[in-house]
Every structure is written in structure tokens, then in C-alpha cells.
């Protein structure tokens, strides 16, 4: 297009030239707008994700610099040089010729000290006149990867991961299977009070869990379930209102002809459900499963309540809150543990982000 403008300004009649000029102006305006929008979004996302960056940086610092208000932003440590089996601090030393050299201090004394050049130790000791205390220590980028190992071992992460995975996966299976059955019942069968029952199901989404908590806790305590995973897992096998709602919306979009064909072939409702509905609904079932998995991974209140004092069983969220309380003087370890806890969900999310976005679309906003 720009070629045409360059080639024809003189020959083209006036109105056409105006048209091409407006087009260029419009195009320029569009580029400017899109540049500004993208830049604004970029700045906003940097600000929004800043805490994550802070987390990564803090988790890699050592104990002293993480609690030092004046420490540098990146994890750094004073550089040392090993010479003859001893460690010496490295300082920035202004030499008489005006050059500043990074030298290891091997012999301290008040008015003059002896240094060694780490780059060329064989050159021998360098005598320097001046007070070594006035020198600036040289620091270098020094991420403390060991923090992760220490946090991993102190918190007994494998056990916590194990319990969290166990809880998330069993309740995911229970919730998705039962919700799919219920959703199919509401989507395809006509029975008395169906509308009222479905409205009741939706209303339970708004029901505050507190109002059922006291008697449930008392009964579970009587049954000896408190302190085990049973009160957390069993209720999930009785369908979840939100999952039922999402799956029903999806089932309604499946053409009825498919089921009728199966029925003519002699399949009963259960076989029709398994052979026709389930294979047709894999994307919706995947999305609902993922949503549930993350819900369970995040769940805090009920595990805290029902597992009670049984800290050996604590899933990640509960364990992390204990750890952060106990180790508040070691923020670098708490942060390393925190990053370990969010690594798995964030990885799954980045890997499966398509399913997520589709999951929201399935949820019936966009029919």
C-alpha cells in the first residue's frame, strides 16, 4: 500500500489522493493505539506479577540480606577468593594509578594491607597503603538454591505433596463422576419437580457452609472421622452444584439424535450415558476436573478444621500456614516453601491454559 502512495501522488486526481492520505492517517492511528494499549497492558502485568518476582528473589537470598532493608534487589553475596585453603574477602581497591582493582584481602593491618589478585594469584602479594576498612566489598550474583532443599526437607514436602495429591485426585474422581450423572439426569429426563429441584441445587451454591458446619462437625466427631480425610472426601461423592450446572449446560448442547440412535440399538440409559454422552463431553469433563483439582489443591478451611491437630496429614495449604507461623524469622525459607507449593498448579495451568479458557466458555456464558 505504501508503494502505491509513493508511486502515484502526482498522477492521481485530488479526491483519490485525499482518500489514500486518510487511509494512511487511519493506519498510523491504529498502530499508535495498538502500541499504547499493548504498552499499558505490559506495564500493568509487570506491576501485577511483581509479587511473584519478589517471591523468587527472596527465596534465593540468604537469611541476612532477606531481612536487610537496604539490601540490593537481586540475591547477592560478598565475593570471596580461596587461596591456600583459606577464604578471603574481595574488595574494590583504588590503585595509585587511578585504576580500581578487585583484590582479595589476605593480610589486614591498620595503615597498609596485603592483597592478592584473584585473576592472577601467582603474581604474588600486592602491598596497598590505606585503611582497608574504608574499602567497598565486592558482591556478586549468588542465588542460594540451597534454600529450596532446606525448605523441602524441613517441611517434609513429599509427604505433604502425597496427601494433597491423594485428596485432590480422589475427590476429583468422586465429584466429576457423581456430578456428571446428576447433570445427565437434569439434562435429559423429565420427572416431577425437576425444575424446583434444579433451582434448589443452584440455590445451594449460595448457601453459606457455616450454617451446616457445627452439626456436621459434631456428627463426624462422634463417628471418629475427625482427624482423618473421611469428612473431606466422602461429601464430594455426592455431586457438586457448580459442576452439575456446568456439565448440564454442556450436555444440553449435544444433539439428541445420537442418544436416540443408541436407544434404538437397544442401549439402556446407563449405556447411552457411557457410550454417547461421556465421549462427547471430554472437553467439559476435563475442564471441570481441572477446576476441581485446583479447588482441592487450594482448599484450606475444611482440611484445617477436620484434620484438627493431626499435622502429619496436613495438605500443602495447611502445612504452609503452620510453617510460615513457626519460621517467621526465616522469611527466605518460608518463601522457598511457598514457591515449591505453587510450582505444580502454575505449571499445570501454563501447560493446560487452552482447556481453561475453553472451560470458561463451556460454562455457558458463550453459548
Amino acid at each position: 500500500m505504501s508503494l502505491k502512495i509513493e508511486a502515484s501522488p502526482r498522477t492521481s486526481p485530488a479526491p483519490e489522493r485525499d482518500a489514500t492520505e486518510t487511509a494512511t492517517r487511519r493506519r498510523r492511528k491504529r498502530i499508535l493505539l495498538s502500541g499504547c494499549t499493548t504498552l499499558a497492558a505490559f506495564l500493568l502485568v509487570v506491576l501485577f506479577l511483581m509479587p511473584l518476582g519478589y517471591g523468587v528473589v527472596s527465596a534465593l537470598k540468604d537469611k541476612d540480606s532477606v531481612s536487610d532493608p537496604n539490601s540490593s534487589i537481586l540475591p547477592v553475596a560478598a565475593e570471596v577468593f580461596e587461596y591456600d585453603g583459606e577464604e578471603y574477602d574481595v574488595y574494590a581497591v583504588p590503585m595509585p594509578d587511578g585504576e580500581v582493582r578487585e583484590l582479595a584481602l589476605v593480610e589486614k593491618s591498620r595503615e597498609s594491607s596485603v592483597f592478592i589478585d584473584p585473576a592472577d594469584p601467582d603474581a604474588g602479594p600486592i602491598e596497598w597503603d590505606g585503611r582497608w576498612r574504608s574499602l567497598e566489598p565486592v558482591t556478586g550474583f549468588a542465588p542460594q538454591w540451597g534454600n529450596f532443599v532446606e525448605a523441602w526437607n524441613t517441611l517434609d514436602f513429599p509427604r505433604m505433596f502425597g496427601w494433597t495429591l491423594f485428596y485432590a485426585l480422589t475427590t476429583m474422581v468422586g465429584s466429576v463422576v457423581s456430578s456428571a450423572l446428576v447433570a445427565y439426569g437434569f439434562a435429559r429426563f423429565r420427572f416431577p419437580f425437576r425444575g424446583a429441584l434444579f433451582a434448589l441445587l443452584l440455590a445451594t451454591i449460595l448457601l453459606p457452609p457455616a450454617v451446616t458446619l457445627v452439626p456436621k462437625y459434631a456428627v463426624f466427631l462422634q463417628m471418629g472421622w475427625v482427624g482423618t480425610y473421611l469428612p473431606l472426601i466422602v461429601p464430594h461423592f455426592f455431586a457438586n452444584a457448580f459442576n452439575v450446572f456446568l456439565l448440564r449446560q454442556y450436555f444440553l448442547t449435544i444433539p439428541k439424535e445420537l442418544e436416540e440412535a443408541a436407544r434404538i440399538d437397544g442401549a439402556g440409559p446407563i449405556r447411552t450415558f457411557l457410550r454417547v454422552i461421556v465421549p462427547q463431553s471430554i472437553p467439559a469433563l476435563t475442564a471441570v476436573s481441572l477446576f476441581h483439582f485446583f479447588y482441592a489443591w487450594n482448599d484450606f478451611f475444611e482440611p484445617m478444621l477436620y484434620l484438627g491437630g493431626n499435622r502429619d496429614l496436613a495438605p500443602i495449604g495447611v502445612g504452609l500456614s503452620y510453617f510460615s507461623g513457626l519460621y517467621s524469622t526465616e522469611p527466605h525459607l518460608v518463601m522457598a516453601a511457598t514457591l515449591l507449593a505453587l510450582a505444580l498448579p502454575l505449571t499445570i495451568f501454563f501447560a493446560a491454559q487452552r482447556v481453561f479458557v475453553r472451560g470458561i466458555v463451556i460454562s455457558g456464558v458463550d453459548k
Binding site: 494499549t37 499493548t38 497492558a41 500493568l44 502485568v45 501485577f48 506479577l49 511483581m50 509479587p51 511473584l52 519478589y54 517471591g55 532493608p69 539490601s71 457423581s178 450423572l181 446428576v182 439426569g185 437434569f186 429426563f189 423429565r190 420427572f191 416431577p192 419437580f193 425444575g195 424446583a196 433451582a199 434448589l200 443452584l202 448457601l207 453459606p208 457455616a210 450454617v211 457445627v214 452439626p215 459434631a218 466427631l221 461429601p235 455426592f238 449446560q249 484450606f300 478451611f301 495447611v318 504452609l320 510460615s324 522469611p331 518460608v334 518463601m335 511457598t338 507449593a341 505453587l342 498448579p345 495451568f349 479458557v357 470458561i360 460454562s363 455457558g364 456464558v365 458463550d366 453459548k367
Partner: protein
């Protein structure tokens, strides 16, 4: 999410359908229907209906967790105590005060983000969507701990960033996010806004379902960006906004995990973290007053129900259910 309210209307319509005697085939279909929904039906009775009623019974008992055999009927005294307990009213006030700050903030932020991510001018849309959603994937406790350190008065980046602008933020006279009863509401809000991804995606899906012809028609009529937003986008998005408002209000009345992880049931600073559910949890489970706890739980239930009713009542004045929807 407009389908949510539509489903309820549909349910109402069905209830009004005339009754006809059922044929054997219809009865068979009904039996299968009940069979399929039975997991929910049984679960509803066991884990919702009976416990709600039991809660009401519990609220009339003096029932200590440590001595269940000594439970005794005390009539309405738990209720009288709930309504005269200053902590009940403080916690209700604390909860309402935070919702007045946070609900508009989060709804507007989620809408703004969705508009930005839906903008035709934005490049790398998908990347931005994923990045803005990512913090919602951070487990809540992990997010709380991260923010606790980012907002640390001395070492946190927020105060150090503010200090770059010349305002004194660190030090003794600085911004102590977790020790000041007003600032702590903003700390709660930051943590909450980090999890705004779900609401944002719901808005985004709502925006994408608005037919583009409407925008084209509005543009032809000479409507600018602001006019199109007010006359096309917002009315057509109002069912989605209504859904977000209802879910958000009901959720915020049950705000618990953030204040609990940060302050336990201490109410620090100065009672600002004594939310309704913290008060309930402290009484029912920390002190073991199950009878009094049940009365408080019913109190919360009534507040939630009343608020939901009010919200649904206002819906007709501002929520558009366009009949032109296909």
C-alpha cells in the same frame, strides 16, 4: 453466566406446566431421572438439609464440644447472646466495611482487565490473558505469604517502590500495612485483587458473546468508544455483572482464610480482622461453644439470604435480559 438466572426462570416456567396423568413410559423416564440425580439428592439431604435443621436445634442448646453429654436446652438464650454480643456487631461492621471497599474495586478491576484483554488494539492477547490469570492459580495461602512479605514495611518492594516517589514509606512513621486498621483493608484488597482472574475470564467470555453487529451499528450512528461502552457493552454485560456481584457478595460475607492465615482469631490490628466467620469460628471451634456457634451460623445464614434477596430484587432495575438473545 446469564444462563444461571435463566435456568432459574426456566425452572419456574416448568413448575407451572399443567399436570397430565403419567403414562407408563413417562413413569419409567421419571424413575431413571430420579436414579441419575440421586447422588445429589441424597447428598443434599445428608450434608445440607439435615445439618441446617440440626443447626437450628443446636442453637437452642448449651452444647460444649468438650462435654457433649451435658448438652441442655436453653431456649433462645444463645440467640439473645448472639444479638447482644458486641463482637457480633463489630464483626458484621468489619465485614460490611471491607465489602464496601473491595466489591466495587474488584468488580471494576475485573471489568477493566476484561475490556483491555478484549481490545482489538491489544497485541499478544493470549499471552496477556494467561499472565493476568496466573496469580489466580497461586494457592491462596501461598499468595497470602507472598503478599505478607511484599508488604513488609521495611524490606517489602511495595514500600521501597513508594519511597522512590519521595513519600516516606519505610521506617517507624511509614506504611505499616498489617498494623494499621485502615491500611490492612488495602492489604486484604491487594491479596483479593490477585485472585480476580476468574471474574475477569467470566467477563471476557461475556464480552465475546456480544454480537459485533451491535458495535458496527453503533459506530455507524457515530457513537464513540465511551458511548458504545455505555449503550452496548454495559447493558449486554449486566447479567454477567449481576452474577459476579452475587457470587462476590456471598463470598465476602464468608471471608475467612486471608484474615485467619495472617492474624488467626486475634482481630489484629484493632479488631480490623474480626470478620463474621472469624467470630463464628472462634466461638464454635476455638472455644467449643457449639450451641452459641450454631446460633451465629444461623445469623450469618440470615444475613446472606437477606442480602441475596435484596440483590435479586434490585436486578430488575439494572439487569437487562434482552429478548433479542438468540
Amino acid at each position: 453466566m446469564s444462563d444461571f438466572t435463566e435456568a432459574i426462570r426456566e425452572a419456574r416456567r416448568e413448575r407451572r406446566a399443567p399436570k397430565r396423568p403419567a403414562s407408563p413410559m413417562q413413569r419409567r423416564e421419571a424413575r431413571w431421572g430420579y436414579a441419575f440425580i440421586s447422588p445429589w439428592l441424597i447428598g443434599f439431604v445428608l450434608f445440607s438439609m439435615l445439618p441446617i435443621l440440626a443447626s437450628l436445634v443446636f442453637s437452642t442448646l448449651d452444647f460444649q464440644l468438650t462435654a457433649p453429654e451435658e448438652a441442655a436446652f436453653v431456649g433462645a438464650s444463645n440467640w439473645e447472646r448472639a444479638l447482644s454480643d458486641p463482637d457480633t456487631w463489630t464483626s458484621l461492621l468489619v465485614t460490611l466495611r471491607f465489602s464496601i471497599l473491595f466489591l466495587p474495586l474488584s468488580l471494576i478491576f475485573a471489568l477493566g482487565l476484561a475490556l483491555l484483554l478484549n481490545s482489538a488494539h491489544l497485541k499478544a492477547t493470549n499471552l496477556f490473558r494467561v499472565l493476568f490469570y496466573a496469580p489466580s492459580m497461586v494457592p491462596l495461602v501461598a499468595g497470602i505469604i507472598i503478599w505478607q512479605q511484599v508488604l513488609n514495611p521495611q524490606t517489602g518492594w511495595v514500600n521501597r517502590l513508594i519511597e522512590l516517589t519521595g513519600v516516606q514509606a519505610t521506617g517507624t512513621g511509614g506504611l505499616r500495612w498489617f498494623d494499621n486498621p485502615v491500611l490492612v483493608l488495602f492489604a486484604f484488597s491487594f491479596i483479593g485483587l490477585w485472585g480476580v482472574g476468574g471474574t475477569m475470564l467470566v467477563n471476557l467470555a461475556g464480552l465475546q458473546s456480544i454480537p459485533t453487529e451491535l458495535y458496527e451499528a453503533a459506530s455507524l450512528d457515530g457513537a464513540g468508544w465511551w458511548r458504545r461502552l455505555r449503550s452496548v457493552t454495559l447493558p449486554l454485560l449486566s447479567p454477567v455483572m449481576f452474577f459476579n456481584l452475587v457470587i462476590g457478595s456471598v463470598g465476602i460475607l464468608q471471608y475467612f482464610v486471608v484474615p485467619w492465615v495472617l492474624f488467626g482469631d486475634s482481630g489484629h490490628p484493632d479488631g480490623a480482622s474480626r470478620f463474621l466467620l472469624i467470630h463464628f469460628y472462634q466461638q464454635a471451634f476455638a472455644f467449643g461453644n457449639m450451641g452459641y456457634g450454631a446460633a451465629l451460623a444461623w445469623f450469618i445464614f440470615i444475613v446472606v439470604a437477606a442480602l441475596t434477596a435484596v440483590l435479586f430484587g434490585t436486578a430488575r432495575y439494572w439487569v437487562h435480559y434482552g429478548s433479542e438473545r438468540p
